[in-house]
């Protein structure tokens, strides 16, 4: 049993950790009132998604996708998810930066960082 767990491929571990991170992040975004904590929740979720992306592209025993010659027997790791994840990390950074600058402005304007104080418009 324990042996089985140890034999779990690394990609599966990353995949599962990624999903767990997504859930923790969501939990944080939904349950914490403090805007900074919400932002932390978002970054956790974002990171989780990135881990899922990387895990999807990984093949057990695959090599880095640097193709030398035309040897068809070598199994390469899919390079596309890795490329995509770079892009989405950058985007995640951008969003986080905007969220933080919103947090600063909200704090300046309302002297509060609680999400409950952003509920002046309703219905």
């Amino acid at each position: 049993m324990f042996q089985d767990l140890l034999n779990t491929p690394l990609s599966t571990v990353v995949l599962i950790t990624g999903f767990i991170l997504v859930l923790i992040g969501l939990w944080g975004m939904l349950m914490h009132k403090n805007i900074i904590r919400i932002i932390v929740g978002f970054t956790l979720m974002d990171t989780g998604i990135h881990m899922v992306m990387v895990a999807i592209g990984y093949l057990t025993g695959g090599k880095a996708p640097i193709i030398e010659g035309a040897n068809k027997n070598i199994v390469y790791v899919d390079p596309v998810p890795s490329a995509l994840v770079l892009t989405s990390i950058v985007i995640g950074l951008g969003i986080t930066a905007i969220m933080l600058s919103y947090a600063i402005q909200i704090h300046k304007a309302k002297k509060s960082l609680s999400i409950d104080d952003c509920a002046e418009m309703k219905w």
């Binding site: 805007i35 969003i95 402005q105 909200i106 309302k110 999400i115 509920a119 002046e120």
Partner: protein, 1045 residues
């Protein structure tokens, strides 16, 4: 190959280049940076426009490959006709929006830069064919949106912006995750490739990926109930930004949805439900909203929902030819109208729609406002009207009846809250004027012009001649140019235009259409003369609308297809509604009128669509081929026409409208416009004569309905104190007879019905004009405050007297002939009980007619009315003219009956014969000429004797103050006046019959709709975390329903 300068990829390249240049140039010179900024936006427009024109001329779709490799191994962009159209729309809106936002944008180079990137992101979302690339453009657009929303750093804006970020980041996480899952299953990110490998996506991972992507895009399109954050953004963001979010961002997401639809084959019903739910619910909630920008938000959300629903339903029905027309029409209509309204809301700078009356002081903005509202409400000639027409027809054909119900209900609700807004703007509380320059209204004007242009193009697309069918609206717009002229000039121009139109149209008509032509065109021409009595008033919109109304009535006569008919009908509805709204305090009653009229129009639309689904022809004459759905179609059409006729139960709009409109227009409304419903009945009726057997039961019910209406109308009229209300209820009653006549579906019944209609036109026009004069002089509508006016207003008295004799149907005037034929026709049909009912109803009518003439013209005169003069000559001229016609028709009834009989006999064989002045039916005969002579003799002889008597004796008539008061003076003396509560004893006996049940019912319905709207929006707590939770639940529900399918 693609012209290198106009390659759509240049949109992205130019943006990236200028994003480096712009801040640098801004350091040197602000003006140059602004110039560059506009140059880039103009280049966007040029690129998409030239691409659009090239594709329109038949060049193949432009495929932009990147990295020199064929897809799916590289990212490719596509620029087909649809992409070109949407990007063109986005770029034009962006250019105008930038113009509008310029004062804000030019303070800050990064803002200009972000604006460019924002627009590029939208363009990219439209063009890209790669799923991950789509995600990138989504994020580019989102990030710029977040910043642009918050640039003014108001409290509300920051809250809204942050909530938007939370919702947006959830949605984009879904999109990213979904994209990766699809990639995991198929190994490709190319959308076309994904569609080709759809079979790989049936497993749990593939399904989850599809659900995630679909939910992400739906969330961005703000579906109910997961859209509270979106409404906050619309409400709080700077209007220039809201405008582009509502149109540009939504457009790019809609297009993304459109291109992914082939992937979502199995999810189409869910998408349709999500869209339909959003459309109906947001319009319910809109009813409760008083915040201008939030109201626009509800409307935006609803319109986008409608588009989502249409996209999903149409791709199920496989009607590719209609697809683009409908989706494109709905899209461009929302696009132009919503952008224009957001900009206008920014100029008006007033949050509460109840305080929008300051708009009135700026006539140009006011007209723009009305046009934009009309466009948004889907009224003709704007694109949404055509699109909804086609959409309803397509959906009815594929038997999506419930969806049709949703569309019509949602549209009705939307029209109600939009035009309630107009009502507030129309109301007369005076406030500060709007401060704005022409430069700020320019984008709005351009939007209105584009809307009209698109409407014009749609008319061509539907195979109509716009210069003919859209004439009413063009004529009205042209008349608006005269707004600075005095009222006389405008009235004379109106008479000239409608006169020429009448001379053009009337000779082309035959049979029944000709008779209705006489009623609609000649009748309204004569009554228009009456309007000259208000010569001193400015009345800037009265005459343009009157022209529109009269021309639309004319177009109604010329219609040969259901589309032309419906178009003219809507024009007539809109113009008469706007005219009603011009009256003082007419906000409530005009809104009621609009709501009922539009509901009626939607019934008609549904009926026409159902007929089309059976016959596949829009010709009115194709009704003759109906077999399967005849009863349903006729029922739907009856609902529509009866609402216009003020049928019992739906008559509640009528008294308010007749009371609150300008007095001269009430005459036109009552005598002319109400006949449009009758024309509708006959226009359809003449084509279904062979199917009369099928609808016999329906007509039997209609016959009774008409008679109950006649009795109820008369009873309600009896108990009115307000003279216009009395006449309004009288109209309800008289219409009852006319409807029964139609329901008889026999030659004599129809002749009687038409005869009564012509009679009604004459006497109601006459009485309303006479009463208009009385109201003009006395300034009250309450009859007990009048009295004894016979000496001051003798001609008006004679008018009313002739009028009521004509109504009551006693010899010698022409009302008698109508009643006589009606009874004949009823007996001929074997409807004996109904005959008795008709007798009874007309007996009741005597009561109110007597009250009318007695309390207004006879009895004692009020002291304050001692010096009243006769009505203005311009009101008297048409009255005298109508009286002459009434007397002529009474003397020589065959002049009227013969054309009616011959007009109807092609459809139903005649049962009437003529010998000289003698009219013979199976039941008896009538000689109008003879009767007239006899009656004249009977009246003249005693009159002569009386005159002789008055010469020989010196009778002293009792004057008003010959009466001596004793004891105390009552607190409100008018209530002791004999004319007050004139028929109290009858009210005790019969009053229970006329309790305002219908009014209560409709008031309760309206109240219910509002409470329902209030309950629906309980989701919108304003809390960002609640909104996130709702989004997650939305995803869950979609996933579960997906599994259930």
């Amino acid at each position: 190959m693609v012209n290198s300068l106009t390659n759509p990829l240049n949109i992205i390249i130019i943006t990236l280049l200028s994003s480096f240049l712009l801040p640098l140039i801004y350091q040197k010179s602000e003006q140059r940076a602004v110039n560059l900024f506009f140059a880039v936006l103009a280049a966007f427009v040029v690129i998409s426009l030239s691409g659009y024109l090239q594709l329109l001329s038949g060049l193949p779709t432009i495929e932009v490959l990147t990295a020199g490799i064929e897809p799916p191994f590289s990212i490719n962009l596509r620029f087909g006709i649809e992409e070109a159209f949407v990007t063109l729309a986005i770029n034009v809106a962006a250019l105008l929006g930038a113009w509008y936002l310029l004062p804000h944008l030019k303070t800050n180079a990064p803002l200009m830069l972000l604006f460019l990137i924002w627009i590029m992101g939208m363009n990219g979302m439209v063009m890209t064919r790669d799923l991950f690339n789509l995600f990138i453009f989504v994020e580019i657009t989102a990030i710029s949106t977040f910043v642009l929303i918050g640039f003014n750093r108001h409290n509300e804006t920051l809250s809204a912006g942050f909530k938007y970020i939370l919702a947006g980041s959830l949605a984009s996480s879904f999109l990213l995750l979904g994209t990766m899952l699809l990639y995991f299953q198929t190994g490709t990110l190319n959308i076309d490739d994904l569609v080709a490998h759809q079979s790989l996506l049936t497993g749990p991972i593939g399904t989850a990926g599809l659900v995630l992507i679909m939910t992400a895009i739906l969330i961005e399109l703000k579906p109910y109930p997961a859209n509270g954050w979106g409404l906050d953004v619309y409400q709080a963001a700077p209007t220039g930004v809201s405008a582009l979010i509502s149109v540009g961002v939504s457009a790019s997401y809609l297009f993304a949805l459109y291109k992914l639809l082939p992937l979502f084959d199995t999810l189409l019903p869910l998408i349709a439900i999500a869209g339909g739910l959003t459309f109906v619910m947001s319009n319910f909630m809109g009813l409760k909203q008083n915040q201008a920008t939030r109201l626009l938000g509800y409307s935006s959300v609803g319109q986008v929902g409608l588009l989502v629903m249409a996209l999903a339903l149409l791709s199920q029905t496989n009607q590719a030819d209609h697809y683009l027309l409908i989706a494109g029409g709905l899209f461009i209509n929302h696009f132009l109208a919503k952008a224009g309204l957001f900009w206008l809301a920014g100029l008006a700078a007033e949050k509460d729609i109840k305080h929008w009356s300051h708009l009135k002081q700026h006539p140009v903005i006011f007209v723009l406002f009305v046009v934009l509202l009309a466009a948004l409400a889907g009224l003709p000639p704007f694109p949404a009207f055509w699109a909804k027409w086609a959409l309803v027809h397509t959906l009815v054909e594929s038997q999506h009846y419930i969806w049709v119900g949703c569309i019509l209900l949602g549209s009705l609700l939307e029209a109600v809250y939009l035009f309630r807004w107009y009502g507030y703007a129309k109301s007369k509380t005076n406030e500060t004027a709007i401060v704005c320059q022409a430069r700020q209204t320019f984008p709005i004007k351009l939007m209105v012009a584009l809307l009209l242009l698109c409407g014009h193009a749609m008319a061509i697309n539907f195979g109509l001649q716009p210069e003919r069918v859209l004439l009413p609206v063009y004529a009205a717009l042209a008349m608006l140019l005269l707004h600075k002229q005095p009222s006389y000039t405008k009235a004379l121009v109106t008479l000239l235009i409608t006169g020429i139109f009448t001379l053009q149209v009337l000779p082309t008509l035959t049979g029944l259409s000709w008779i209705f032509g006489m009623i609609f065109l000649v009748g309204s021409w004569v009554l228009t003369i009456g309007s000259l009595y208000k010569g001193t008033e400015q009345r800037p919109s009265y005459y343009p609308l009157l022209v529109m109304l009269i021309l639309s009535l004319g177009s109604l006569l010329l219609a040969t297809t259901t589309l032309e008919f419906f178009l003219a009908w809507e024009f007539m509805t809109v113009s008469s509604y706007l005219m009603v709204s011009l009256g003082k305090n007419a906000e409530k009653s005009s809104l009621q009128y609009l709501a009922f009229s539009l509901a009626g129009a939607f019934f008609i639309l549904a009926g026409f669509a159902l007929a089309y689904s059976e016959t596949h022809s829009m010709q009115l004459s194709s009704f003759a081929q109906l077999a399967e759905h005849t009863v349903m179609i006729i029922t739907l059409l009856l609902f529509g026409f009866l609402i216009k006729l003020g049928g019992l139960g739906v008559h509640v709009w009528l008294p308010g409208v007749y009371t609150d409109t300008d007095d001269d227009f009430t005459a036109i409304m009552s005598s002319i416009v109400s006949k449009a419903g009758l024309f509708g009945l006959f226009a359809v009726g003449i084509h279904i004569t062979t199917q009369f057997n099928d609808i016999e039961a329906l007509m039997f019910v209609l016959g009774w309905f008409g008679l109950v209406m006649a009795l109820a109308g008369a009873l309600m009229a009896v108990f009115q104190e307000d003279v216009k209300k009395l006449l309004a209820y009288s109209s309800v009653g008289q219409m009852g007879y006319i409807i029964t006549g139609f329901a008889l579906t026999s030659h004599m019944g129809w002749v009687a019905s038409m005869y009564l209609a012509v009679n009604h036109v004459l006497y109601k026009g006459l009485i309303f004009l006479a009463i208009a004069g009385v109201l003009y002089r006395t300034n009250t509508r309450l009859m007990y405050k009048m009295g004894g006016l016979i000496k001051n207003m003798p001609i008006s008295f004679v008018s009313v007297m002739i009028g009521i004799i004509a109504i009551s149907g006693v010899p010698p005037l022409l009302g008698f002939g109508g009643k006589w034929m009606m009874y004949n026709a009823l007996v001929e049909k074997g409807w004996y009980l109904q005959t008795a009912m008709a007798f009874f109803a007309s007996a009741v009518a005597f009561l109110y007619l007597f009250r009318l003439i007695h309390t207004v013209f006879l009895g004692q005169q009020k002291t304050e009315h001692a010096d009243i003069k006769e009505a203005p000559i311009t009101l008297l001229i048409p009255q005298v003219f109508i009286m002459v016609i009434i007397l002529a028709f009474s003397m020589f009834p065959h002049v009227l009956i013969e054309p009616l009989s011959t007009a109807i006999s092609p459809y139903i064989a005649s049962t009437i014969t003529w010998t000289g002045h003698l009219l013979e039916t199976k039941q008896g005969y009538w000689n109008g000429f003879m009767v007239m002579n006899v009656v004249a003799g009977i009246f003249l002889v005693p009159l002569f004797i009386l005159w002789m008597l008055s010469k020989v004796t010196n009778i002293q008539p009792v004057k008003q103050f010959n009466i001596v008061f004793a004891a105390e003076r009552p607190e409100s003396p008018e209530t002791t006046h004999y004319a007050y509560n004139f028929y109290a004893f009858y009210e005790k006996a019969l009053g229970f019959l006329v309790k305002p049940n219908a009014i209560h019912f409709w008031d309760a319905s309206a109240e219910w709709a509002h409470s329902f709207g209030a309950a629906l929006r309980r989701f919108y707590t304003g809390n960002g975390q609640t909104y996130m939770a709702i989004i997650l639940m939305y995803l869950g529900i979609i996933y579960l329903s997906m599994r259930a399918i």
